[in-house]
């Protein structure tokens, strides 16, 4: 019996889908059988982030309504043979599926897969309730901004009310240069406020945009910094204790160069 994980955030645009795609791909890369579930009915995007948008025949709603078997709706990944995607329906609304139906679906998937990763829509309404319905654990994604952290706090409360305890936090799009200048909240600041367990820190990284353009999760890119952050997250999910990536750039030369750029940029 596998484990189901919901990736949620409250606020939109903080990187839920990217996180779900990368964690799922990362887990598959180390040999786990993984199913990604896009629970964002009506606004599906996990398919394009994974580069699988051209292969969709059936979707999640088809499965719960009994139009097809689960197996025929699952899309096999291009790169990894133990990675699958269950896409959301694009032409239906959130209330086309109920939390009870989601629970049954996720239970069924857990029999076949080591990990079932559910990408939750933004917001706290029906779509959120559906997405968390079958989850064993929750990952909350936030960015170092007041609005995103505030929404994350709200999500912690709502998860607790649904008896989903001990969510883990991913802080996305950290910018070391701004943290150093005191213009961005640090990991410690955010953990201090939210008081939940830290699962990972992902630096703001242009390679994420490039990899999303290509439909290739950055976790597959050995040289990508964000990819490394997601590989670390995957190992932590598997129970390994991996130190967090240093936010400060250690190299004095790099820091001097950056400082020089800052100063000359200002003049």
């Amino acid at each position: 019996m596998g484990k189901s994980i919901v990736v949620t955030s409250g606020k939109g645009g903080v990187g839920k889908t990217t996180a779900a795609a990368n964690i799922g791909t990362g887990l598959a890369q180390i040999g786990r059988r993984v199913c990604l579930v896009d629970a964002d009915i009506g606004l599906r995007n996990l398919d394009v982030v994974m580069g699988l948008e051209n292969r969709i025949v059936y979707d999640l709603i088809d499965v719960v309504e009994g139009n097809c078997r689960i197996r025929s709706a699952l899309i096999k990944d291009k790169r990894l043979e133990n990675l699958f995607l269950l896409p959301a329906a694009q032409t239906r609304e959130k209330d086309a599926v109920s939390p009870e139906q989601m629970q049954v679906l996720i239970e069924d998937l857990k029999k076949e897969f080591d990990y079932v990763l559910v990408d939750c829509p933004a917001g706290i309404e029906q779509g959120f309730k559906n997405a968390i319905a079958g989850a064993d654990v929750a990952i909350i994604v936030t960015t170092p901004e007041v609005s995103a952290v505030r929404d994350a706090d709200r999500i912690v409360g709502l998860l607790e009310a649904s008896e989903l305890y001990d969510p883990q936090l991913i802080i996305n799009r950290i910018r070391p240069d701004m943290v150093r200048k005191g213009d961005m909240m640090t990991t410690e600041d955010i953990i201090d406020i939210l008081a939940i367990k830290l699962l990972g820190i992902v630096p703001d990284d242009e390679s994420i945009i490039v990899s999303t353009n290509r439909g290739e999760p950055s976790v597959l890119d050995k040289k990508s910094l964000s990819g490394q952050a997601f590989r670390n997250i995957v190992r932590r999910l598997e129970g390994a204790s991996v130190p967090f990536m240093p936010i400060e750039e250690r190299s004095v030369v790099k820091r001097l160069l950056r400082m020089f750029n800052n100063v000359s940029g200002r003049s």
Binding site: R150, D183, M185, M259
Partner: protein, 87 residues
């Protein structure tokens, strides 16, 4: 030293402290939301405890969370009919 130098050149206020402070305040309010169910339970229990010491007007009892800028207070207005002499 480097930190000091960059401060010298940057010389701006740390906006992250502002962010953290605002966040802290807004969460004081966000977190102080009692669900109707919890509020009812609290009301019932208060009536139960208070009734040991005094006769209160249950219908006139009001329990609310009041929010001011920096804090949240539980405010109860409880009409008392008669105070008991002993337990």
């Amino acid at each position: 030293m480097l930190e000091w130098l960059s401060r010298l050149f940057g010389a701006t206020e740390q906006s992250k402290d502002k962010a953290k402070e605002r966040l802290r305040l807004v969460l004081v309010h966000d977190r102080a939301v009692l669900s109707p169910g919890l509020l009812d339970a609290l009301r019932e229990e208060m009536i139960h405890v208070l009734s040991k010491y005094m006769e209160i007007d249950e219908k006139g009892l009001e329990v609310n969370l009041n929010r001011s800028d920096e804090s949240v207070a539980l405010v109860a207005n409880i009409p008392v009919r008669r105070v008991k002499r002993k337990l």
